[in-house]
Assembly symmetry: C2
Homo-oligomer: 215 residues x 2
DNA sequence: ACCTGAACACCGTTCAAGT
DNA sequence: ACCTGAACACCGTTCAAGT
């Protein structure tokens, strides 16, 4: 691993932590694996972060910092479409981040800046503060939840889908879950299907609904 | 703890695991804390579950089993409204379950039965299979994502909100996050506000959108 | 059949010591 | 200032032994 012996820093620690979580899941991210990745002893990490909890908060915030911000001066719908697509892509690449979200209550600066830009875009577009709260809750619920589904449903990748459909169909008594079987064999497993394509469809529906509130 | 010395069973192990995760978060759920709760030695657990991973899969499925199923014969919109409200309440009580969702790909029988009932309700209502997939993705993304937001955003409980607003306002340079500050002081922190109330508003918007696809 | 004691290879973190 | 060795109280899990 080239360049790993640059001087340690909070930044490098967090970046390495993201890399480990991406590669093997959150379960493989330990202070010791992180130290190994950085070619350092575990205790050295504590000079740059207070503890593992701060690392978890830090990598969530780092991931939020990768999401494109909406420009408050552009067309609100176009800007929120672009940032939502970016959010889904970024969070989809680091799905453990959404998993971590439910257990932390200390949003970092990048996360706050992100939310501030979304709220600001809605306010600038003319949404009153109560409708802005509605829109914020609806839009970001959709984005987070889609990432959860995409990570959890085994309807991705060509192999994964077939795998689980197999489990559904023969792991249990035949005839259970008839509608899931129909959905799988009649739609999801057909060549052109990609669950990820559902995102844009739902996103447009959500933005339509929000746009309707403005009139 | 009365009745804890009933004979061990997979059922009792999973129930105790849920209780521990509810009380102290997933981080406090260990094979050893679980054994202690059940008044048994850690190794006894392995006679009822293969390993901790199976416990995690098991408690997610247990929680899904608590959600009201829609009846495929009722009015689809009413049924999905009822089951979505139930899902939000149940998952909101056990928020770690949604966090776990992103890292598992082995849905259990209760989870599959749940999804089957939702898909069946949509099919019975006359949605073709492709629109059923759209509706399923949109609706459940919204439900999961709302639970994530409600757990993550510190906009709940009277104290929590004030806490974080404090952090937002003085922890960082003043004037950062102006829109979040406006949203907090001008809306979210006002006496009658409860973020949870946003759920029904967004749910109706989502169901409106889905209903529109049927015509 | 069900439970357990002892052991192994791990964790996060502290503390005192090195450069 | 930054890094580290040794140690502590924990983990999940295996294996051989008990009833």
């Amino acid at each position: 691993m080239p360049g790993n012996r640059a001087p340690l820093s909070r930044e490098r620690v967090l970046r390495a932590a993201v890399a480990i979580a991406d590669a093997g899941g959150l379960g493989t991210l330990t202070m010791r694996s992180l130290a190994r990745e950085l070619d350092v002893k575990p205790m050295s990490l504590y000079h740059h972060v207070a503890n593992k909890d701060e690392i978890l908060d830090g990598i969530v915030d780092l991931v939020f910092g990768l999401i494109d911000l909406p420009s408050p001066d552009g067309d609100w719908r176009h800007e929120l479409h672009r940032r939502s697509t970016s959010a889904r892509r970024v969070l989809g690449r680091h799905p453990w981040a959404v998993g971590l979200l439910v257990s932390r209550t200390a949003p970092g600066p990048a996360t706050l800046r992100h939310h501030d830009a979304v709220v600001g875009t809605l306010r600038r577009a003319g949404f009153p503060v109560d409708l802005t709260a509605h829109a914020f809750a609806l839009l970001d619920s959709y984005v987070y939840g889609f990432v959860v589904q995409e990570a959890a449903l085994p309807f991705r990748g060509d192999d994964g889908a077939a795998d689980v459909t197999g489990r559904i169909m023969d792991g249990f008594s035949p005839g259970d879950y008839p509608h899931l079987v129909e959905m799988a064999t009649g739609h999801v497993l057909l060549p052109g299907y990609d669950f990820g394509d559902e995102f844009g469809f739902g996103l447009d529906a959500v933005l339509d609904a929000i746009a309707g509130w403005l009139r």
